[in-house]
């Protein structure tokens, strides 16, 4: 899937405030600034890594890009459209073009649904609305079979429940669910941090293969710098909601300029010798 737009995602000066609970009835409510003036651009087919510790605003940024929240200030422009200016209807329709894979493969799949309904759910909500195009049961099954084979699972797995799968297989199901709408962008929030080393390697390889095959872009949130280094072309380092360093992954990991990036790199275990 080739995108006519060179810049797929353009995040312009976004800030996000959250209100804190009032300390007393008449006191003014304070707020916490989760993101301060964050900007970056993601080119179609490339991957951007977001690095930082808990509380740095990584996940807030992912939620803003997924248009799950409106930024207090700034714009999230996806394929030339300001996501927050879209009507609910239009937004729902364009959601098929950006999908998300979550960290916890146990919490992110509905235990009461079969894989078929988990994987095809997004097709119902995105396709049937905007374009008025309705898919037949057979079409749904075909699309699901295709997506499942792409991630290395068997078509017969469609009739199983999530508990019948291992962590790595569940994460493959989550990727199939994201892939089925043929998105240009997948936001992956710590997609492999709950997996064992050897399973993690398989899932990372799969994500790289899918990127080559479908020209996907990833917005890859992770605390694991080695994973980001492997998966991403560019990186932004967040600290307290601000970008402290941005640039090509190679450059940043070999010659980190900001003390915080240097501290993050120095804290990776096993590198001291």
């Amino acid at each position: 899937m080739k995108s006519p737009h060179q810049v797929l995602l353009d995040v312009q000066h976004v800030s996000q405030h959250y209100a804190l609970p009032k300390p007393s009835l008449f006191a003014k409510a304070g707020h916490i600034q989760a993101l301060k003036d964050v900007s970056f651009q993601l080119t179609a087919g490339k991957s951007m890594g977001i690095v930082g510790e808990s509380g740095s605003g990584k996940s807030t940024l992912a939620r803003l890009v997924m248009a799950l929240e409106k930024p207090t200030q700034g714009k999230v422009v996806f394929k030339g459209q300001d996501l927050n200016a879209l009507s609910q209807e239009k937004l729902r329709h364009s959601r098929s073009d950006f999908q998300m894979v979550f960290q916890d493969p146990y919490g992110s799949l509905d235990p009461r649904q079969k894989v078929l309904s988990i994987v095809t759910e997004s097709l119902h909500s995105t396709l049937s609305s905007g374009s008025g195009q309705l898919l037949s049961t057979q079409d749904l099954k075909d699309r699901a079979t295709f997506a499942l084979t792409e991630v290395g699972l068997r078509p017969s797995d469609l009739d199983k429940y999530p508990h019948e799968f291992s962590g790595g297989q569940r994460q493959r199901i989550a990727i199939a669910r994201a892939l089925i709408t043929r998105p240009s962008l997948i936001v992956a929030d710590e997609p492999v941090s709950a997996l064992d080393v050897s399973v993690q390697a398989q899932v990372l390889n799969l994500m790289m293969d899918l990127q080559d095959r479908f020209g996907l872009s990833y917005l890859f949130v992770s605390h694991d710098l080695a994973v980001i280094n492997l998966m991403c072309d560019d990186v932004i380092v967040l600290q307290h909601g601000q970008v402290v360093e941005a640039g090509s992954a190679n450059e940043i990991f070999q010659r980190p300029q900001h003390p915080y990036t240097q501290a993050l790199l120095a804290a990776i275990p096993g590198l001291s010798q």
Binding site: S54, G167, D196, S198, V199, Q200, A201, A263, P269, G270
Partner: protein, 369 residues
Amino acid sequence: MDCVTCSIPVCRERDKRIGLNMTPSNTKPLLSVRNLRVGLQTSHGQLEALRGVDFEMQRGDTLGLIGESGCGKSLTALAIMGLLPERATVSGSISLNGTELTQLSDEALCNMRGARMAMIFQEPMTALNPLHPIWKQIAEPLQLHQGMDLVSAKARALELLERVQLPRARERLDNYPHQLSGGQRQRVMISIALACQPDILIADEPTTALDVTVQKEVLALIRQLVAEDGMGLLLISHDLGLMRDQVERVMVMYGGAVVESAPTKDLFGRRAHPYTQGLFAARPQLGLKRGTRLQTIAGKVPEIFNWPRGCAFADRCAYVQDNCRLALPQLELVSDTAHAIDDKDADKPRRVDKHWVRCPEWQQLKAPA
């Protein structure tokens, strides 16, 4: 002399009553695990979840257990702590300072836990009780094992929190777990574990839930405290890099058995088991080119009720021979580095760092690139 653990006479009398042998011994290892087997009764029938684990630790030793989910790391820890589910059957021997733990009554075991052996769990939020302020949770083992009253236990709790470098410890005493950050909660967990100065500390993935920079601080703290108190540290982790920094010796587990055991330095120099090699090759490392495909281990970890009779890795192994499938291979010696013994440690047992591997084909393995 008073009780070796907590230096108070009350404790010694209690130990005598329940028949514990509290004499520290230099000749015997601090912790000795011999042919430890754990059977589990499940809906799939009787399963052997640990297939004969052997190791020894001395005071001051740091030992790492590494492996992927379901290989038996945590089960080994729980067996030592006597925290296995009731339907589990344990055979073999676990001896701490000469006391055979597998033979102890529940009451005697209760008196050992927290006092002589302690454990730090992975997720401090679920391991701490959300309904009690942290000082009460630190005071609990002190009241239980050392018979302290509430006032002195609270004072001791403050000392302990200061020792684990919890910032503003005095103000935090009355805090509840949810008011603390992940790293701070883990410090509270550590102070609970260390409250009675146990002989052995088991840390099961103590920093997996923490940020890298916090992880570094917490691990450094554990190491420092363990060295100060002369405890043995059994560290469980799936992070190879972390093992390199934190422990002197590593045991690699797969399918309920130790497949390789070596001094950390030797293991990083030479991986003798095909599984260990696969594990090392599969981790992403800084410096790899963008888009490099990681090496993977073919197949997947066998389900516990499907474990082969022989080597559990046989179906995924490129070097597999017919014999590997018949019975669990024997441990073979890869190298044998005897350490020079200091004069002052002359009464200590001779320290030999052996590199063992449970693979008959280890000499055929190609050295990793």
